[in-house]
Symmetry: C2
């Protein structure tokens, strides 16, 4: 039994390794070599916490297990601990025995960032040069850092509901040597790629804030009722996702589907584009939209990668379990 504590993850895991793991597992999902189990998510009636399990099995990578944890909204104020807490448990698919336990907090941020980057690699125009950011919170810095490593963007433009938070993402752009500019929402028409990463329950980005040829990654919507972009935008776009069932029920596509603007069959798996069974972007005028809902297999994939890195570096704790 191998243990990789949360404190080790930052020095072990690279954005490159997270990107590779997520790209590979999205491909395996589309090839039906990997599947996610139904998600358990419970309001436990204690500390206002949401707790649950996201599990899955990747037959190609032989990765079996789950991420357990959730959202404890008072952790930061009460205990100076982060509010999202999770742990990944990997099992040996040959025997059913527990194989590894891995801190899941930073990994969750990295796998979410990797997902939008994978979508940019496979769906954005080759000449994309302006990156737009909707959202400027903690997770936005992860998405931006990963995106800036995926393509050579010439400029980052950003909007946030609370403009005083924009320096969070400006700092990341500046560190990467890319100029940053705050814009209003109509200013997003300048962007070739837009990442939206908020926890909003009403759309910010409207259809006419988006120019033809843009790729949009909607990364914030993972619950019934949340919404980041106008549903009319999905009707104009080619829509891709990690997991179709989640996209149309708890993801960004829930609204467009409920309103009858698109059907479930119009939502494609990003993994199919990676595998080459879906053409993806077919012209420089297409608007492509990736609805990143977040699946357990992403967590398992990055956790398995970090266990390998920890073993190679000799920092995995071995317990005779």
């Amino acid at each position: 039994m191998l243990i990789v504590p949360e404190r080790e993850i930052a020095s072990l895991m690279t954005r490159e390794a997270a990107f590779d793991a997520v790209e590979k597992v999205f491909a395996a999902m589309a090839a039906k070599d990997a599947y996610n189990f139904p998600v358990i998510r419970e309001a436990i009636g204690h500390e206002d916490a949401l707790y649950g399990f996201k599990g899955g099995f990747d037959k190609a990578g032989l990765t079996l297990g789950l991420k357990a944890g959730g959202y404890w909204p008072h952790n930061l104020e009460k205990r100076n601990e982060i509010n999202h807490q999770s742990t990944v448990f990997l099992f040996d698919p040959d025997t059913g025995k527990a194989k590894a336990m891995v801190g899941g907090n930073l990994l969750t941020a990295l796998r979410t960032a990797a997902a939008s980057s994978v979508s940019i690699k496979h769906l954005a125009r080759k000449d994309a040069s302006v990156l737009g950011m909707i959202g400027a919170g903690h997770q936005a810095t992860f998405q931006l850092r990963a995106a800036l490593e995926t393509r050579r963007f010439k400029k980052v433009i950003g909007w946030n509901y609370h403009p005083d938070m924009l320096p969070n993402i400006e700092k990341v752009a500046t560190e990467a040597g890319v100029p940053f500019e705050a814009v209003d929402l109509p200013g997003m028409t300048e962007a070739d790629v837009i990442i939206s990463i908020t926890s909003a329950f009403a759309p910010s980005l409207m259809a006419d804030h988006v120019s033809p040829g843009t790729h949009i990654a909607c990364m914030g919507t993972d619950t019934k009722g949340k919404q980041e972009v106008e549903s009319a935008l999905l009707a104009k776009a080619s829509v891709f996702t990690d997991e179709v069932a989640q996209s149309v029920s708890i993801g960004e596509a829930q609204h467009a589907v409920a309103e009858g603007l698109i059907t479930e069959s119009e939502v494609a798996q990003l993994g199919a584009v990676i595998n080459g069974t879906n053409a993806g972007r077919t012209s420089d005028e297409d608007i492509t939209l990736f609805d990143g809902t977040g699946v357990g297999l992403q967590d398992l994939a990055v956790a398995a990668a970090v266990v390998d890195l920890a073993v190679a570096k000799g920092v995995a704790i071995e317990v005779d379990f």
Copy 2:
């Protein structure tokens, strides 16, 4: 983070501690202080394995977490490992952080044995003296050992589909100083308490094999299609269970309910009897039947108890996670 490996459980956990933990959590469930999450159970398409998660939260005992694992049918033949493999993970309900990892194999056997014993304590006649066993496999020895510690039975009678396995349970009875006798199924009318622990898909124990005043604990049915006793027996009995929703869908009561012999509202929680909100047995002529389906909260309760014992004895492995 505390770790209690499988190999430590046998020397730590007592049948008494398992009994107390299960009795307490059944009571908490009936008082609505504790609840089980939906169960995830997946045929993963590898090694013919069934894998899944049983989670829950006990607000009274502040126990949060899950049992993960399942059934790997080729473990024994291929690797000399047991086929049922499980691990319990406990979380701190105040913070969402992982708190303990505990080997779940022996604990599962002990908590299942404890459940039938708790039902005997609360539902069997005070003067019960003959214990009948249906089933003589590995788990039957656990059920019998626990039952013999709950009441002073004067005799054990046993039946098994394969009579050559009866020495398994005869040995347990003999060790406890109680005489054992093999019987045919009609011979079960002599029993005051019957424990049925098989994995049959057709009933063995028929209604006319059971005398008035008997208490029956059906412990083997945990899947759609399994059945240990004739459904007419449930119509004649006062029916109790750990979790009503499981009892009527995957437990022994599934058949009587499907056939319209009883309704879901006629299945009561054993915890309500423990709490005194349900009268339980009301006469020496009543037939009482406990449908033990097995819930995640039982696993969490015994795991939490064993962690306390491991800490007290200084054998819990502490990992800075």
